[in-house]
Symmetry: C2
Subunit: 383 residues, 2 copies
């Protein structure tokens, strides 16, 4: 028997910039010039975003001397599938894009996740540039290199880590968003405050009115702070072996609710409900206080989210005995969650606003397994 | 405008072992014990390999205390598709495999590429162990971390780099292979000699009879040398930006022929023809000698490959005017090759047995663009 060994010297691409501001056209053009040469470019977006913002970025790409192929798909989470990915790949192949091509993803979280995953596996990986067009995509999807698609079994179950070469978060994109879409991203910003920074949480409390008015300067300052918090977690732990899991606060419950709703509930609304539910669970476990929970409720209401995890839902999503949502169906909906280990669901729990409750059995852990009965008591029996 | 930056500290997994020998059962069991704990394990193979070798490895996995899910798919290159990948993913999800699971790929190149790609993107990446069962998979597919599937447009067009945690190349698997399958891998071994080591080429010349007789000791020694050559290229350049391209010698022509045959030609036979064709192209460009070309012909004949790139093919694959294969169809078949840059096909060319002709315009390059007319003269007009 012989043992040989493969040792890879090459390090992963170490670093990428996130540009955040109001008119990034020239910054983008300059970046393209300085980081080329590129072969051809595929600009990928959904049909709605393509109509509103497509021409602007096509023009910049063409002015940089690049051959641009524009690909679109129907807007909505239901497009985030292996089927749409295969269609985009076939379109790229038919257009003859080779390994020296660049993928530019223009859109919200669905587009960044989907086009990013296309970039991750087309000819074993093409460089990617992300142009987020929603608040949610700017503070969340665009940062951290996670890409993927959904299956019938759950969200983001198939995917890859594929960091972009650069992110251009142009705040001018936010002006045309319908209010619920615009506000959805603030659920993630509130989460960033909850898990890492009481001062970010306070900033959101103080700036809520200006943010609702889409004040550019305030937006730039708040989004930059929120992005910086996410960057901090990603830098600590790109592949989510520990610290990055904190970013899943509110998402175990939130994803389950999204799934149980047949993806009818928006991600922002589902996460806001998840933050409340998991804050309540943390309080039930005597980790955070009732005052923290009330303060979170008030802030979420400022951003036009609900005050109760189960408020304003149909009977299907309202817990028994008042509604029809059986506790076991909730458990099943969390069971295929990627955070599950040995079939036991781990939750991120809150110690106080700005701090995750670490520890449990493993004192270094950012998550804790929670017994089914505890979840039932905290969320089903108090409703 | 603000510029933030994401810097990832984490390095890629640096190193993995390749165990090569005759009875690796205990080595495998020991490795599982030392590198766990694992959640559940999915053993993925095609239906033929599962019948012959499945139980042996299932037993070892079960004896290590692991819950094993065995997944199979129909044998053959036609299974190496996005559709089969999606089916395997759905099976893994239905079986409830989480992020702490391990994928064990048991089989030839198709299985390692396909199951490896499943591992690369299931929940954004599961650890992978490869158990190659063919000569070709041992000296080629199992090493280097390339995974992927084919599309109608060509081979391996969608995929990922996903190095295994370990490779167990058990020579006892080779005993039951039909001779053409057993010999196919020697086309790649010959290539390794051609591009990097005249002494490996000589070893193949001297050991041909013992290898045809499947002598275990000779096999272990020759395969280890061939694997070491591939490892050398992969270590220099995992992502095929330069040196690793040398491993594509014979493959531009070989892949085109495979594709033009509708995947009826075996990979080994296609590569052997490709080695001859690209050696002839190199001679036509006055890089290697006629003596080198004749010597290559003789060695390939020892391993029961053909003596001419176009020998024993139907009229569809025989060049005009004698057959029906138009030069333009050949060019089109190479056009979507991943090695194409700016639509111009680059070839690896041979200086002599054991050495690639470097240079051209870029003196550091392992490939050179070749004008269409030159390819026509070297391969079409001399036939």
């Amino acid at each position: 028997m012989r043992e040989l060994r493969v040792t890879i010297q090459e390090a992963e691409r170490a670093s990428y910039p996130i540009f955040l501001g109001s008119r990034l056209d020239e910054i983008f053009a300059q970046w393209l010039r300085e980081n080329g040469p590129w072969g051809r470019v595929a600009l990928i977006s959904d049909d709605r975003v393509a109509t509103v913002h497509g021409r602007r970025w096509q023009t910049i790409l063409a002015a940089a001397g690049l051959g641009v192929v524009t690909l679109t798909f129907p807007a909505g989470e239901s497009s985030k599938t292996r089927g749409t990915k295969a269609q985009l790949e076939d379109d790229l192949l038919a257009a003859g894009l080779g390994r020296d091509s660049l993928i530019v993803a223009l859109g919200g979280g669905v587009t960044l996740d989907l086009a990013g995953f296309v970039a991750a596996t087309y000819m074993r990986g093409l460089p990617l540039v992300s142009l987020p067009t929603t608040t949610l995509a700017m503070v969340d999807s665009a940062i951290g290199g996670k890409t993927g698609v959904d299956t019938d079994q759950g969200k983001n179950l198939i995917g890859a880590f594929h960091p972009p070469q650069a992110v251009f978060a142009d705040i001018s994109h936010l002006e045309t968003l319908p209010e619920p879409v615009y506000l959805a991203g603030f659920a993630e910003a509130v989460k960033h405050g909850l898990i890492a920074s009481v001062s970010h949480f306070e900033k959101l409390e103080h700036a809520a009115a200006a943010l609702l008015a889409r004040d550019r300067q305030v937006l730039e300052s708040v989004l930059a702070e929120s992005v910086a918090i996410k960057v901090g977690f990603v830098e600590k732990d790109q592949r989510e072996s520990n610290a990055r899991k904190a970013l899943n606060f509110g998402h175990t419950f939130g994803h389950a609710l999204e799934r149980l709703s047949g993806w009818q509930l928006s991600h922002g609304d589902a996460v806001a409900r998840g933050l409340l539910a998991e804050c309540r669970l943390s309080r039930h476990l005597k980790l955070c206080s009732l005052a923290d929970e009330k303060r979170l409720e008030r802030l979420l209401v400022r951003f036009k989210f609900v005050q109760e995890p189960f408020d304003r839902l149909g009977p299907e999503l309202t817990p028994e005995p008042r509604g029809r949502l059986a506790f076991n169906d909730y458990l099943r909906a969390t069971g295929s969650d990627k955070k599950a280990r040995d079939g036991k669901v781990e939750y991120v729990l809150l110690a106080t606003i700005g701090e995750v409750a670490r520890g449990g059995e493993n004192s270094d852990s950012w998550t804790r397994p929670v017994a089914d009965d505890t979840i039932r008591e905290a969320l089903w029996q108090t409703w």
